[in-house]
């Protein structure tokens, strides 16, 4: 189920990104929705591709939380950057030394995912990615297949 949803997400996001590119060929250039389609497409594609790789036996388990968080960070960050007014010469509000839009992009999109996915990968590695038992099972099965002549040829 998760894999099917992830594959659907990748396909639809590729279509959205393709539509954004195609709209740029229209007379007058890319319309305003193109950047939103690109932002949504990228956010869905990055998270769906990661979920496709992380899903085991059709499930994500606890990983669905960090993946949802990353989607919100990417879509929220890009959306805020698109929606915020551009900075002006008299812009007095700086967040951690940068204008608001720049801070959202740099600290939000560029740094916040660091506290979600790489840490989630490490914390859940033994239970959701590759345990000693998983590794032993793969090696045992591979030996059995090779012994039974079922494995394919070398690469």
């Amino acid at each position: 189920m998760v894999k099917r949803a992830a594959l659907g997400g990748i396909f639809l996001s590729a279509a959205a990104i393709g539509a954004a590119y195609a709209s740029a060929f229209l007379p007058g250039g890319a319309p305003r929705w193109a950047a939103w389609a690109m932002a949504a497409g990228i956010s869905v594609m990055m998270v769906a591709t990661t979920a496709l790789g992380a899903a085991r036996r059709g499930r994500l388990g606890a990983l669905s939380v960090p993946f949802a968080l990353v989607f919100l960070i990417l879509m929220g960050g890009f959306g805020a950057a698109l929606a915020l007014p551009p900075p002006g010469p008299a812009d007095a509000t700086l967040w951690l030394g940068l204008p608001r839009g720049a801070a959202v992009v740099l600290y939000g999109v560029g740094l916040l995912p660091l506290f979600a996915v790489p840490l989630a990968y490490a914390v859940t590695f033994d239970t959701l990615t590759l345990s000693d038992a998983d590794l032993e099972r793969v090696r045992r099965e591979a030996r059995r297949l090779a012994g039974g002549g079922e494995a394919g040829g070398g690469g």
């Binding site: 890319a30 990055m46 900075p87 740099l106 590695f125």
Partner: protein, 499 residues
């Protein structure tokens, strides 16, 4: 990412040259040590699957970045403002994405099948020598072009530091890289990468601190820039939102198709050590990105304040800042870091390029090279010499060859490799069609754009367009030929895909 292709300012001072000379001696020493550990083709191409976590991380980081992070990147930031950071922004996600999507499966496949190249994984996944051969040919094409630009950049750095002239710099840099690559193969590459990656991260952090000091802190620099050019610090810089987001797409998703980086997953000694890889890789990439951001902002604010003259060329941002605002020894470390970044990338390209010639193309034609270690070394020399000759030819040709490297890797490998290793429904026909689509469209679109036959609209990058079209072709053709999906999967490959 384009590397510098114009001369850098002269840095021929004894202290800078001394630091750089020490760097080159350490690289040569590591190469000599590694040569004694290279006895088989598996040692030469995949380090005998004996690499530890730190070595894997630093090596993947140094192969990812090239000299762009130190010279071209800060120059791009100086030119387009914050939009340039969209090249590096995906780094917070790509380390973990690559680990989940590729690392475990490639490492297990390598163990079960004895794989040594990235196209090997494609051949094994689809039972398709054609897909493997096409992937190998795409890699070879991109490697030669990419290498020519990297070697030219290395020649320019050596000329700037030692005053050798660009031609001698090209052959000197190529000679040193070739010596340890041909003799020690990827073993030499990995362990020189460890030294080079550490040097790059150290240089980046030190320079970032220097930029904050020179500019009076980030807030002061921001206020200076906002008063003169507010768009520079807008969320997209001076790029359009579509153009900036397109960079994020290409460098985010494209990271899954860089053979010189993902190839290193084969080399990890213990697959369970992957646990900490994404966190370490992400931190290493972020540390090395500090220089790009710091120099870009600092030089812009110093120019606005009148403390620096406007740059004649964006590539002068880092050298100009270093010569004016940092101790000479730091300039020496940074330029050694630039050489390190370029050499580590060249070494990785040499490895995947030689592997394509020695292994993937013969396998696609139903043949096996008898002595892969010997031929791996011979092809390493041939590719190096060809790339060095190309680097000495017209700058136009080198620039043309360099532009399609990253995009060609991405559009030809991401669908078939990254999606295909995780989707049992992918078919050999889908893989072949997507690789062919990526290859043809990237070459065609880049040629049209480069020679001015057709100008793509603002916001449309050729790499992004080719990647998205090859993804769509992969899905559509796999769906149309879905009846052949099950027959294309060997039981042991299915086992790895379900692991």
């Amino acid at each position: 990412m384009t590397l510098q292709s114009a001369p850098l300012p002269s840095l021929t001072q004894p202290l800078v040259a001394g630091v750089a000379a020490v760097y080159f001696l350490v690289v040569v020493a590591i190469g000599a040590w590694a040569t004694r550990r290279t006895r088989t083709a598996r040692d030469f191409f995949v380090a005998g699957e004996g690499v530890g976590l730190w070595a894997l991380t630093l090596s993947a980081m140094s192969a990812t970045l090239s000299g762009f992070a130190f010279i071209g990147g800060p120059g791009l930031f100086y030119t387009v403002g914050l939009g340039a950071i969209f090249i590096m922004l995906p780094a917070a996600v790509t380390g973990a994405m690559g680990a989940w999507v590729l690392a475990k499966r490639m490492r297990l496949l390598a163990e079960l099948r004895g794989l040594i190249t990235v196209p090997d994984a494609i051949g094994a996944r689809y039972r398709s020598p054609l897909a493997q051969g096409l992937a190998g040919a795409s890699i070879l094409l991109a490697v030669i072009g990419y290498m020519a630009t990297n070697i030219l950049a290395l020649g320019l750095v050596i000329d700037a530091v030692f005053g050798t002239g660009v031609g001698v710099g090209i052959w000197l840099g190529m000679g040193i890289t070739l010596a340890y690559s041909a003799a020690g193969g990827i073993v030499a590459g990995i362990y020189t990468d460890v030294f080079q990656g550490a040097l790059m991260a150290l240089a980046s952090v030190l320079v970032f601190a220097a930029t904050l000091r020179a500019g009076g802190g980030l807030e002061a620099m921001s206020r200076t820039i906002l008063a003169a050019d507010p768009a520079f610090l807008g969320p997209w810089g001076t790029l359009s939102p579509l153009a900036a987001l397109s960079l994020f797409f290409v460098f985010g998703m494209g990271s899954l198709g860089q053979p010189h980086v993902v190839h290193k997953f084969y080399m990890l000694r213990d697959p369970r050590r992957l646990k900490w890889y994404p966190l370490l890789m992400t931190l290493a990439l972020l540390a090395t990105t500090l220089l790009l951001f710091g120099v870009g902002v600092a030089v812009k604010s110093l120019v606005v304040r009148g403390e620096l003259a406007p740059l004649a060329s964006p590539d002068l941002a880092t050298p100009t800042f270093l010569l004016r605002f940092t101790p000479l020894v730091l300039a020496g470390i940074v330029f050694s870091g630039v050489a390190a970044a370029i050499m580590s990338t060249v070494n990785s390209f040499l490895s995947v390029g030689a592997a394509a010639l020695t292994h993937d193309l013969p396998v696609a034609m139903g043949r096996r090279v008898r002595n892969e270690l010997l031929w791996g070394r011979i092809y390493t020399v041939l590719i190096s010499v060809l790339a060095a000759i190309l680097a000495q030819l017209s700058g136009t040709l080198v620039a043309f060859l360099g532009i399609f490297g990253f995009g060609l890797f991405a559009s030809t490998l991401v669908p078939a490799l990254a999606i295909g290793l995780n989707w049992e429904g992918a078919t050999p026909q889908g893989a072949v069609a997507s690789i062919a689509t990526g290859l043809v469209l990237t070459l065609l679109f880049e040629s049209l754009a480069y020679f001015g036959v057709y100008s793509f609209p603002a916001g449309v990058t050729v790499s992004g367009l080719s990647l998205v079209l090859s993804l769509l072709v992969f899905f559509v053709v796999s769906w149309l030929t879905r009846g052949s999906a099950a027959a294309a999967l060997d039981p042991d490959v299915r086992l790895v895909m379900e692991a």
